[in-house]
Symmetry: C2
Subunit: 349 residues, 2 copies
């Protein structure tokens, strides 16, 4: 048990101990602690002195209990080990802390929906004041039911169909990426996506890709689903060989990949199969994870303004909590930007 030096009784001092020492009522101590006004300067000083002497610290558990709310901000993360999530998680945490909230992370690794749901329930049991989603959920009805309408929710960059959201403009980002390839002279540009979890964002990115190509009068293909590490891909439900889609005489000369981790896996694949980048194949990613800027990777990509996304997301959910923001869900968009590096070049002649 912790015990302050001046209060060796074993139990932590309570508001009553402070009140007794300062010669005031518990209510006054409470008012001082909470910074309520309506306490005279002299009384305040006396109480503060008593707090100091006793080493009193408010019991957060009691406070949370009586107020029936915490200063916990729940954060649901797709995969902490993915640098994109790690990066944004860190920023969310920083912003929340500045506003007096403590973040509670739950890591969800998309694989198992039941697992994800049980994680969400464990999080909700702590009665967070709000929840920030950095992860996508397939079974949203269950999640929605679990959340009820009891907790404000914001989606940081992932979906726009439920709750508030703050997202980069996926279609604009995809347009920037695709237009860059078009400007370099590419015509056969493929769109590769790697993870089911980003369905909605991925769809929007595919639309942006399509619209850029259409505007340029070039052909846009369907999404090519690829599981990093594998040799096979799925196109409109049919299996095919990744090798044949890339770099060959009829294959694509450039790829826009729906995310950096996938794009980097593509670079790996290319390295193993003697496809030179950007000589034989140009690759553009999405996210601008740190990794992408390493000289040995040097991936051209679309940068998400993570700081802004994190800041605005937290601000939004805090505003909902405070009642400052009411009404229907608000969907904010932030602007992506293109970062050109060494993974893109004009197509071979």
């Amino acid at each position: 048990m912790a015990s302050s030096p001046t209060h060796p009784s074993g139990r932590d001092p309570t508001i009553f101990d402070v009140a007794a020492l300062a010669g005031v009522s518990k209510s006054t101590v409470s008012n001082v602690v909470r910074g309520t006004d309506g306490v005279s300067e002299t009384t305040r000083a006396r109480v503060e002195r008593a707090i100091e002497i006793l080493g009193y610290r408010p019991n957060a558990l009691a406070r949370q209990f009586v107020r029936q709310r915490t200063t916990i901000l729940g954060v649901l993360v797709g995969d902490l080990d993915n640098p994109f999530y790690g990066d944004i998680a860190k920023r969310v945490e920083r912003v929340a802390f500045r506003s007096g909230y403590t973040t509670m992370f739950c890591n969800i690794e998309g694989e198992d929906d039941d697992f994800a749901l049980s994680r969400v329930e464990a999080l909700l049991e702590q009665r967070p004041a709000g929840v920030v989603f950095l992860a996508f959920f397939g079974r949203s009805p269950d999640i929605e039911a679990a959340l009820g309408k009891s907790v404000p929710v914001v989606f940081a960059g992932l979906r726009e169909d439920w709750g508030d959201s703050v997202a980069v403009s996926n279609s604009l980002g995809a347009k920037l990426a695709t237009q860059h390839l078009i400007d370099l002279g590419h015509r056969r540009i493929a769109y590769v996506t790697t993870r089911g979890v980003e369905q909605r964002a991925g769809q929007a990115r595919h639309r942006g890709y399509q619209s850029a190509l259409r505007a340029a009068g070039a052909p846009a293909g369907p999404p090519i689903h690829w599981e990093p590490g594998g040799e096979r891909v799925t196109i409109k439900g049919r299996e095919a060989s990744l090798r044949e889609e890339l770099g060959g005489p009829d294959g694509a000369t450039a790829i826009f990949c729906s995310n950096d981790i996938g794009a980097i896996a593509l670079l790996e694949y290319a390295d193993r199969h003697d496809i030179r980048i950007p000589g034989d194949l140009s690759v553009v990613g999405f996210d601008d994870v740190h990794l992408a800027s390493l000289a040995r990777i040097s991936l051209t990509t679309v940068r998400q303004p993570l700081d802004e996304i994190a800041r605005v997301s937290v601000e939004t959910v805090l505003a909902r909590m405070a009642g400052d923001l009411v009404g229907p869900p608000r969907h904010l968009q932030v602007s992506p930007s293109l970062v050109v590096r060494a993974s893109t070049a004009p197509p071979a002649a």
Copy 2:
């Protein structure tokens, strides 16, 4: 406000509502909810039915309040954005969840001790049942004071001077790394360290490096402190040029770097300065972050068994919490292993 369909009164149903419906006392409901035995099968069934009907969910805030403890496991992370921390954080979370604990992460970015301290205090205010350190703290006396003796603490892989710890054997890992370079034929092997935050681990790694070289009759240098991105290094407090330490006629032919992120930064530096790796210079890291296994990085490194560290760390702190582990701090060591990749080769002839 959340409300179950069958309980539209606005307030969440309490144990009393369940008791009334089931025709028993609140105590019996409590016993059913907590799984206490001493409740007959028929009563239990009746209570469970009532719980179902009302959609009752125990109020975690009230429970925590009355028991004065939570099922929150605090985790202090060095930098969530560093893949090493992200990886181990994720594993810790997984193990904790399996044991019924929810993890609360606090991200500490070593720079600012006052900030770190305020983060720790915010974490402690939630009264976690235990704390796992994945970060190193310079000002441990303050942290120690803040923690008091009230919360069991375990250090995962970082220090061995306070609280329980579960760490890879840093000196053995360093020996493996250095011996690998010696076996390849290197004699001029430098030790580079990048971050103040890993002082203790770094010191142990330097000792392992020294002992391997001594055993081989080769010279061991002092730690070379390098700030990734810079050109200058500090050796025993004196400044020098990194370029001159590496690859030159008198410079090192191989480097053992105290961590992978630093080692990868060294690769970057080498790339920019036309030092070929491993032709001109061999590099070994420590940690085996995912990144290191990318074909374009392919860093020889020392792997930490992160799963084991995470599992044993959480087990240790849970055992302390439960009182199953008593007595003086326990310092467990786990074994590192060498992962040979393409960043090391025999020295140029």
